[in-house]
């Protein structure tokens, strides 16, 4: 439909089209009743079902979460993990707070303490007495992992962190050091 400019109207209107003209062309469905009506009711449904029946032989692909879990990619950024040295068992984290400085969500809290040489917690002079991440604020950007000079904190693969209580989402050092109860399956190369 071609819009006709309301050029010969004498009284000026901000709307430059004639009142009885549609500005946009509207696709109208067929009027109800008759053959066109029946087509309207079932035609498109059948078109969709064609695809359904066409693929039914492939079997179900639904993943039965939470009994089953989607494997994640190796670089997936899930819940953080703190690490220990494998040989000595000392914590890698020295409590330097660089992760806290890097965190854009300001959700890491580190309170450092001095190591007792007799009873070391970490390898350096200091260790993290308190290490907390408030996962309800974390945006999983991974900056903390990048900032850490000792690879003490890395983004793990767990993504199941929902809880009933906000304060339960503050993960302490012990929780972050512990192995996750359930391992999230990892997608292998090329999968």
């Amino acid at each position: 439909m071609e819009a006709k400019l309301n050029a010969d109207k004498t009284d000026w209107s901000p709307f430059p089209y004639l009142d009885d003209q549609d500005v946009i062309s509207v696709q109208r469905g067929p009027e109800p009743g008759g053959l066109p009506g029946a087509y309207r009711a079932f035609g498109e449904t059948l078109r969709g079902l064609k695809t359904t029946f066409g693929r039914i032989i492939e079997g179900p692909v639904t993943i039965q979460y939470p009994e089953e879990k989607t494997p994640v990619y190796p670089r997936f950024r899930g819940r953080h993990k703190l690490h220990r040295f494998e040989d000595t068992g000392l914590e890698k984290c020295v409590g330097c707070s660089l992760c806290a400085a890097a965190c854009p969500a300001d959700c890491i809290r580190v309170v450092a303490e001095e190591n007792d040489p007799e009873n070391r917690v970490s390898a350096g002079e200091r260790f993290a007495e308190v290490y907390e991440i408030n996962l309800s604020r974390c945006i999983f950007c991974g900056y903390c992992e990048v900032a850490c000079p000792f690879d003490a904190i890395t983004m793990g693969h767990d993504y199941e962190m929902s809880d009933y209580n906000r304060s339960d989402l503050i993960f302490t050092k012990e929780m972050l050091l512990a192995e996750p109860i359930d391992r999230t399956p990892l997608r292998s190369e090329g999968e």
């Binding site: 409590g95 707070s97 806290a100 580190v110 309170v111 350096g124 002079e125 200091r126 000079p149």
Partner: protein
């Protein structure tokens, strides 16, 4: 010598016209043009630059080699380049060299995040090192003192700490051992670095080589907030900032103010933040029950109890305001007392300062600014030991002597740590201040004074040196008020010197309490109301005590005051407090609070909002930095509520309102507001209201106690002095506890010989049956016939024996020094235990 006039010099730095006063170093001049030249060793607070680190190299037209900008004064027409390839090459090289032996353990280093070496390596460094050999190694971290850890690997040998120790605090303990890359900082004898200002080196060190044990690993710069306040632990009123993390003060840093502290702090101020969050603090109002225990009550109940007690006493009430009390609180206290209870008995110190003399001494013409010390020709220190009573003043005086060659004169009862640098140091016996100053007045030609006494010779020598230049400054201790006639003589000296006719130089009083000057000016002085206006005379501290004993005074309100500990006559005070209704506004359960019927919690200088007045008349703001713990309420509010309960409606809802009302009331504070005070404070003498100061009229309001009893008996004359560490602060802060000291009887070698005493012997010192235990310390720079005890100790307080001037003591040997040595309490043992303390860190 007066403040030199410095002309403006114009030079060209990196193509920018820069104008700065002559004598400025290039580094500082560059800042006028917004150009930054990196530095490590340069710190103007430390005096002359040394050019040790070479970080500040710049190219100057006409000079073939690169020059250190920190030690090159500017010249007119100089052309300087800081960005050329040559300069960049040199900067890269210096950083690369510095990092060769630097461990780069930033993640575990306490300085990380606020480290000049990090910043400069980032901004001016080459980015990588070509050095692949092993680095130099030291054992680390080691205790340099019980409070400071040293990491020698991180040291970049900038000499700042050594210069501080050698040239600022002049304790001369820190030196640089060895040569070349083996150099390391340590004390000359490898003992712990124990000195009253040593905490400053942790702030000076541009790397993490010197760190405080109290702040070690507590927080990073991004975890903290900084807020400024004023330290009210002594009259220095240093400008401080608290490092606050999670609403707790973790560190105290200097907030440089050349007019007050010159950028230094004493260790008492620096390490006393621990007591703020102490478990021992009183955090709720308490009332003493019948069985003598304190039970917490609601504020309303406490206030009504206080009001009832005060109302009962009526005109027989009294107030003692202590050093931590702010001007506002002092003003409210005196108003509460004078208006609410029609009682005139209020005092703020133990000296018995006379209102008429205070009025005369407060004249702007007589007073001296702190800064004036830097330009003084001669400095006379009269019966005060700045190190103990106003520590920062000690550094300021040393600076004047060292940098501008001021003549230092010391006249005191007790040997002074300034004696060493003094051109003339004289001793006089306790109670003889008036004679000595009188002789000085005579030597200076003041009318009405004659010099024929035993002090004439010494006085002449001092007078002569005082006249070396036109600008003398006399630093005197409020203690002089304790000797009748001494302050009058001092005024005569000042007039004879023409001090009142010249702007600038003058008298600087060292008050006995932190806000001593402010409290008097707002009216906490018997016989002087707000603005020192003459009012009805009341009892001074000693009068209040005696009045309490004999029943004339029935109620006492203590505001952050602990007379049992700090005032003469501890036993009499105990008796007085035990026999009356006592209300104590206190932070801790101190010896006086132990007698209080009602205890109200006090705010600390990190929580309070208010103003204080520096001994030179500078009003400064105390700001809240951390939340008030527990139930603590602002004292201003408590006093207003109390007044309301007593039927006084003041309509002073908060501190700003009180400040406004107070400045209205105190003539010479007129026009002072939070804005005029600002971050640096303002001297009222320099405002319009102060300049119009007229000698306030008002008769002599004599509130001096009884004349001192004539010295009788044959024993040693008792002298007392205040010790920096003999205070509650030392005991309430774990970090400072190792400095807690025992009582010592200081005597001259001659007396020791006649009495058969040796250094370290245990003695019992008694006066009229009261006695204290002490250890003998023989001091060579003392007059014979006098024995000195320290005031303010928790046990064996020297104040217990003081009983007016001219007290004589009996000394009885209780145990020989060897016995103490054997019991591990000897001098050697003390040093060892300190080392042990340090090593235990």
């Amino acid at each position: 010598m007066s403040q030199p006039i410095r002309n403006a010099v114009t030079l060209n730095i990196d193509g920018r016209e820069v104008t700065a006063p002559e004598g400025t170093m290039l580094v500082d001049a560059a800042k006028h043009g917004d150009i930054e030249i990196p530095v490590f060793c340069y710190e103007p607070k430390l005096g002359e630059p040394v050019g040790a680190c070479r970080m500040c190299l710049v190219e100057i037209e006409g000079i073939p080699k690169l020059q250190t900008a920190c030690s090159t004064p500017i010249r007119d027409g100089m052309t300087v380049y800081t960005q050329t390839d040559r300069v960049k090459g040199a900067q890269n090289a210096v950083v690369e060299f510095l990092l060769i032996n630097h461990p780069l353990d930033c993640p575990v280093c306490d300085k990380g995040g606020e480290c000049p070496l990090q910043d400069i390596a980032m901004g001016w460094g080459p980015g990588k090192s070509r050095f692949t050999d092993p680095k130099r190694h030291f054992q680390k971290p080691l205790p340099l003192s019980p409070l400071v850890a040293i990491d020698r690997e991180r040291c970049i040998l900038c000499y700042r700490c050594v210069r501080f120790s050698q040239e600022i605090s002049e304790d001369e303990q820190l030196v640089l051992h060895e040569r070349g890359d083996r150099s390391f900082v340590g004390t000359f004898d490898d003992r712990p670095y124990i000195a009253p200002f040593h905490g400053n080196i942790t702030e000076l060190c541009p790397v993490g080589a010197l760190t405080s044990y109290t702040y070690r690993f507590r927080a990073r710069p991004w975890d903290i907030e900084d807020a400024g306040s004023v330290c009210t632990l002594c009259p220095s009123q240093c400008n401080v900032k608290f490092t606050v993390r999670d609403e707790r003060a973790l560190r105290v840093l200097a907030r440089d103010n050349e007019d007050v502290d010159d950028g230094w702090l004493c260790d008492k101020g620096r390490y006393s933040f621990q007591m703020l969050a102490s478990e021992e603090r009183i955090t709720e109002p308490m009332v003493r029950a019948g069985d003598g225990t304190l039970a917490p009550v609601s504020w309303e109940e406490a206030i009504s109890k206080v009001a009832a007690g005060l109302r009962d006493a009526g005109t027989a009430s009294a107030v003692l305001a202590g050093g931590g009390t702010s001007n506002e609180e002092g003003w409210l206290l005196q108003r509460l007392l004078r208006e609410g209870l029609s009682s005139p008995n209020i005092d703020s110190s133990a000296s018995g300062a006379r209102a008429d003399l205070v009025r005369e001494l407060s004249s702007p013409a007589l007073g001296s600014r702190m800064r004036e010390l830097d330009y003084a020709d001669a400095i006379l220190v009269l019966d005060t030991e700045p190190l103990n009573e106003m520590p920062i003043l000690d550094l300021r005086i040393r600076k004047a002597v060292r940098r501008t060659g001021a003549q230092l004169l010391v006249a005191s009862e007790h040997p002074s740590s300034l004696d060493g640098g003094a051109a003339e140091a004289v001793r006089f016996a306790p109670g003889e201040a008036a004679e000595l100053i009188g002789a000085l007045a005579a030597a200076l030609g003041a009318p009405g004074y004659e010099d024929d006494g035993p002090h004439a010779e010494k006085a002449k020598a001092i007078a002569e040196l005082l006249r070396t230049g036109p600008d003398p400054v006399i630093v005197w201790g409020e203690r002089l008020f304790r000797t009748p006639g001494a302050v009058e003589a001092l005024l005569a000296c000042a007039k004879a010197l023409g001090i009142d006719k010249r702007l600038g130089p003058g008298l600087l009083e060292v008050p006995e309490s932190a806000n001593g000057r402010g409290l008097r000016e707002v009216g906490c002085l018997p016989g002087a109301g707000p603005g020192l206006a003459p009012t009805q005379t009341g009892a001074a501290a000693s009068g209040i005590r005696d009045g309490m004993v004999n029943g004339e005074i029935k109620a006492l309100l203590l505001s952050e005051a602990d007379p049992v500990r700090t005032h003469p006559g501890s036993e009499a005070w105990r008796k007085a407090l035990a026999s009356t209704f006592v209300v104590s506004i206190a932070m801790f359960d101190d010896p006086s609070t132990a007698y209080a019927n009602v205890v109200l919690p006090a705010e600390s200088h990190a929580e309070k909002e208010g103003t204080v007045t520096h001994p030179d008349g500078r009003l400064q703001r105390v700001r809240p930095n951390v939340p008030r713990p527990g139930q603590i309420r602002p004292t201003c509010q408590v006093l207003t509520d109390l007044a309301a309960t007593l039927g006084q409606t003041w309509d002073l809802p908060d501190q700003p309102a009180v400040l406004a009302a107070m400045t209205d009331d105190v003539d010479f504070y007129a026009g002072i507001s939070d804005e005029t005070i600002g971050g640096q404070g303002v001297r009222w003498q320099e405002l319009a209201s102060g300049r119009s100061w007229g000698p306030a009229v008002g008769g002599r309001t004599d509130n001096q106690g009884d004349p001192p009893p004539a010295s009788a008996g044959s024993g040693l004359l008792l002298g007392t002095y205040r010790d920096l560490w003999a205070s509650e602060v030392t005991e309430r802060n774990p970090a400072l506890r190792f400095l807690k000291r025992g009582q010592m009887l200081e005597i001259a070698p001659k007396d020791a010989e006649t009495m058969g005493l040796e250094n370290g012997d245990g003695v019992r010192v008694s006066v009229n049956g009261t006695s204290v235990e002490a250890r003998v310390a023989i001091r060579t720079r003392m007059e014979a016939g006098v024995g000195f005890l320290a005031e303010g100790l928790a046990e064996n307080n020297g104040n217990a024996l003081v009983n007016g001037a001219g007290t004589r003591i009996e000394v009885e040997k209780t145990a020989p020094a060897a016995e103490f040595e054997a019991a591990g309490m000897g001098q050697k043992a003390t040093v060892l235990s300190l080392e042990g303390e340090a090593a235990a860190r």
